[in-house]
């Protein structure tokens, strides 16, 4: 019986076209992922070469004044890109994966944007997560909207009903065949991805796969529930497409609008203005006042004094730069906490919207979500502080430039060690699936088919 059902399903022209289409576009998504990966690797490689050349050139040039040299040179910090990121590009196209900073004021450099074609951003990537989240459900709907209803409309249902002992079992088998074929498709695509994109077999991949399967099951559960209402095919099609539209566009967009208005971030602009003024006004205020503030922040540098007979010293200059950061620290913290709130709010609301939940989880696994970006920004601050603490005494002592081994300043890498929580990833989808299947079951048993 099952093999007949399977033959019947797979022989239909629509099925073949649908599966082939999804396989093709899935493969295209992997190509796009590959290009993204290559570009990331290439960019990081370039950053390495660039930093080496850049530092060597400047060190040869400004060899008498280490203070002046450090005014110019930039150090890079890379946000590590996981191979699995190619499957869910997430926010990594909007946010830069490399930070380039000098040891001057950080707040003016930290939020520098990536170069982007806004048209690409608006259209969105065709990465694997898009195929999974947008397109798989469409095929699932196309495969299941007319189960039973079609047979009822064409009059063949009565024959089926009289020929099988249990019609409910028959319906389950119809779903079983479809579920199996789509999960097979997902597995094939992921398997190709693993080979093609060098994705390691680890927890991340496992959770990714698990989420994919649960997400596919979620849509089958939705279809199962709608089919259980036993309405006309046309009604099913309209209602399923409307559900899809809601979960894919309207609800996420609505929630986004809510979050954006609830957690506004005027601090961003406030911060840039503040750090500019805080630094620049120090040129025209009492030097000793500035120095006093600086010593308060770094008591260990109190021994360095500015000479009374010199108008300009690097000690004073970097103290002024430091004030740009110190005096805008309030705004900086506020901005960070607002963004943190945005992230938490969207994650907790997303638990109730399976599409959104899946997308956010996939991005989190791929280290391409807002949470990762915030951690990267934090790490950038640490990286910057480390450089400052290293170079400050050298600058204040006016240490000779060629006494420093500049070769040792390589591009550094930040890896996000956030643990993946199975419960957080799987439970919301599982609950939705059980709920929908339960209701569907109830409907089927209530109305004998």
């Amino acid at each position: 019986m099952l093999s007949l059902i399977f033959k019947n399903f797979i022989r239909s022209k629509g099925t073949k076209i649908g599966l082939l289409f999804l396989l093709c576009i899935g493969f295209i998504s992997l190509l796009i992922g590959k290009q993204f990966q290559d570009k990331q690797i290439h960019t990081i490689e370039q950053a390495r070469v660039y930093q080496k050349e850049h530092i060597a050139r400047n060190a040869a040039f400004h060899k008498d004044e280490i203070g002046l040299l450090l005014y110019y040179i930039k150090f890079s910090l890379v946000n590590k890109t996981l191979p699995i990121n190619s499957l869910a590009i997430g926010q990594r196209d909007v946010n830069p994966s490399i930070q380039n900073v000098t040891i001057r004021g950080l707040e003016g450099q930290k939020y520098d944007a990536e170069l982007n074609n806004p048209n690409n951003l608006l259209a969105g990537n065709i990465d694997f997560s898009f195929v999974l989240i947008y397109l798989f459900p469409l095929l699932i709907i196309a495969f299941s909207y007319n189960l039973i209803s079609e047979e009822k409309e064409s009059g063949t249902w009565k024959i089926v009903a009289t020929q099988s002992q249990n019609t409910f079992f028959y319906i389950l088998k119809l779903f079983y065949v479809r579920i199996l074929s789509l999960i097979a498709l997902l597995s094939i695509l992921l398997f190709i991805a693993v080979l093609f994109l060098n994705i390691p077999f680890d927890t991340s991949l496992f959770v990714f796969y698990g989420l994919g399967i649960l997400y596919i099951l979620f849509w089958f559960a939705v279809c199962f529930f709608i089919v259980s209402l036993q309405k006309h095919s046309n009604f099913n099609a309209v209602i399923l497409l409307t559900i899809w539209l809601f979960l894919i566009i309207i609800v996420p967009a609505g929630i986004n609008a809510y979050i954006v208005t609830k957690y506004k971030v005027p601090e961003a602009l406030e911060l840039t203005l503040k750090q500019r003024n805080a630094y620049h006004e120090k040129w025209d205020t009492d030097k000793n006042e500035t120095m006093e503030k600086f010593y308060k922040h770094y008591p260990q540098f109190r021994t360095y004094k500015i000479p009374a007979d010199k108008e300009f010293t690097w000690l004073w200059y970097y103290a002024m730069q430091q004030m740009g950061d110190d005096e805008s620290a309030v705004q900086s913290r506020e901005l960070e906490s607002k963004l943190q709130q945005r992230n938490l709010a969207s994650q907790s609301i997303a638990q109730f919207i399976p599409t959104l939940h899946t997308q956010l989880q996939l991005n989190e696994i791929a280290h391409a979500d807002l949470g990762n970006q915030l951690l990267f920004l934090k790490e950038t601050s640490k990286f910057h502080e480390k450089l400052r603490l290293y170079f400050y005494p050298k600058i204040f002592d006016n240490a000779p430039v060629n006494a420093e081994n500049w070769e040792k300043f390589k591009v550094e890498t930040f890896s996000d060690n956030t643990k993946i929580s199975f419960a957080k990833a799987f439970v919301p989808l599982l609950l939705f699936n059980l709920l929908l299947i339960g209701f569907g079951w109830f409907n089927f048993t209530r109305k004998t088919v």
């Binding site: 290439h42 944007a113 048209n119 608006l122 208005t261 025209d284 956010l360 807002l370």
Partner: protein, 483 residues
């Protein structure tokens, strides 16, 4: 009136049957609510975006003017900001706005990126889309039209009532036009009130003092959306007429809708981006740096380019050192440096924008096949939220930056002494009155003429589609059969 008598009758009949269907009634009501919500959130967005940008533009200007007497070069480093402002129509069409950086810091020697885009501060939620009037008009209403229209003729065929209609002296053309009008009249019940509210909000936003340019853009916005919706009505009726069953009609229409609004826009842009790869930021900046170094380094006293300038100045003024020149030498050199670095930057930027343009060319061309893309591009152009507007904003900011830097250099050449102050002396400075000479940054959105010029492909595409549908109605009216 008499001429269209039968058509109107058919239309009226369709409208009645539509509202007997509660599901449709609920969906229509719901879209109505969504329209209101979209207006509200668009309004809110626009207000906060413009208030913030105005507030900080003003504040940054005050800060600039408040600076005490100082060396003009320090003012050039103090810099200015360009904050992006939205136009009133962007309340209805957000376009690419969430992906645009909202502030550019403008300083000497350096072209900074436009920072703080909404997208950068968002979790990937934003990437699902945004609720705007444009989304409702361009994406949701066409789907509603298809839901209303798939039955229009196919159901009559299934029922056998089609034969009766046709034997009663109604011809195919009347039937097609009548059904189209019927669907259109239902849609107008949403569209007309929406437009009325829209115009009211739009007037309110500008305190009822509107410019001819904005008015013209608004009129075109409304008209093109009207045409766009009508033409989905025609497609719905035509597909319904050629389909054997209403189910087939529905599936075909859903397929068309998915292709037009979801699949094609993303795919075509992705193809463009895949084929024409844009350089990364690090490559872009390091290329610029290399080219500037090739030209000469103004900080290197032995650089041939700058040495030649120095020598020619010395001989022209018949002096033996730059300190004896009658104007500030380092100001002069910085003017030259700024000129060179800006030229090189602009050349590289032009190359980059050329790559972006090529990326976008695919989806632009596809607008001939896809009315949704044509409409989207046009409405983004009118609301100043399209790609061109962004490039335009950055260009205006860069022009301003260059002007500011060179003005400060000119002040330095003119007023700052050529002798280096000795160690204990106060640094040279000029009066703060000069700061007001640099005008505030003012962003000027594109005028309607430029918009129409940029979007000529979209306009041609929409007109071609209209012609095509007229032709199709004609052909259909002759070839269609009742069974």
């Amino acid at each position: 009136m008499n001429i269209l008598h039968s058509e109107l009758l058919i239309a009226k009949h369709l409208r009645h049957s539509v509202f007997k269907n509660t599901a449709v009634f609920i969906i229509t009501l719901f879209i109505g609510i969504l329209l209101l919500y979209a207006t509200f959130s668009g309004w809110e967005n626009y207000k906060s975006q413009n208030e913030t940008s105005e507030k900080y533009q003003h504040e940054s200007r005050e800060d600039w003017l408040k600076n005490p007497d100082k060396n003009p070069h320090r003012m050039a480093h103090y810099g200015n900001f360009a904050f992006r402002k939205s136009t009133p129509l962007s309340v209805f069409e957000f376009g690419m706005e969430p992906f645009f950086g909202n502030a550019i810091f403008l300083e000497a020697h350096k072209q900074n990126t436009a920072n703080f885009s909404e997208a950068g501060f968002s979790n990937s939620m934003l990437r699902f889309g945004e609720i705007s009037i444009a989304l409702v008009l361009q994406v949701l209403l066409p789907l509603l039209i298809f839901f209303l229209g798939f039955n229009s003729i196919a159901y009559e065929r299934e029922n056998g009532t089609l034969k009766i209609l046709l034997t009663q002296g109604i011809n195919w053309k009347q039937l097609l036009i009548g059904k189209t009008l019927g669907i259109a009249s239902v849609i107008m019940m949403l569209f007309v009130p929406a437009i009325v509210i829209l115009i009211f909000v739009w007037l309110l936003l500008q305190d009822f003092s509107i410019t001819a340019d904005q008015t013209f853009k608004m009129i075109l916005f409304v008209l093109f959306h009207l045409v766009y919706l009508l033409f989905f009505c025609v497609i719905a009726v035509l597909v319904s007429a050629i389909s054997k069953t209403s189910k087939k009609a529905l599936i075909t229409l859903i397929g068309i809708w998915l292709l037009f609004t979801i699949i094609l826009p993303r795919t075509t842009q992705a193809i463009g981006a895949y084929i024409y790869e844009a350089p990364s930021k690090i490559q872009f900046t390091s290329d610029i740096e290399k080219d500037i170094l090739k030209q000469g380094d103004s900080h290197n006293p032995n650089d041939p380019h700058y040495k030649a300038i120095k020598d020619s100045l010395l001989s022209a003024y018949k002096v033996d050192s730059v300190q004896k020149l009658p104007f500030n030498y380092s100001g002069f050199i910085m003017t030259e440096g700024e000129k060179i670095s800006s030229r090189i930057y602009n050349e590289h930027l032009a190359e980059l924008l050329q790559v972006y343009k090529k990326q976008n060319s695919f989806s632009k061309t596809v607008s001939f096949l896809n009315p949704y893309i044509a409409m989207k591009n046009l409405s983004m152009g009118l609301s100043n939220t399209d790609y061109e507007s962004y490039v335009d904003f950055q260009q205006q900011a860069e022009d301003y930056r260059y002007m500011m830097a060179q003005k400060m250099n000119a002040l330095q050449i003119k007023y700052i002494s050529n002798k280096k102050p000795s160690a204990g002396d106060k640094p040279y400075s000029i009066s703060k009155e000069h700061w007001a000479d640099v005008e505030d940054f003012h962003y000027e959105p594109k005028k309607i003429g430029t918009v129409l010029e940029n979007e000529i492909i979209s306009i041609i595409s929409i007109f071609l589609w209209i012609t095509l549908l007229f032709i199709l109605i004609r052909i259909a009216a002759q070839k269609l059969k009742a069974i």
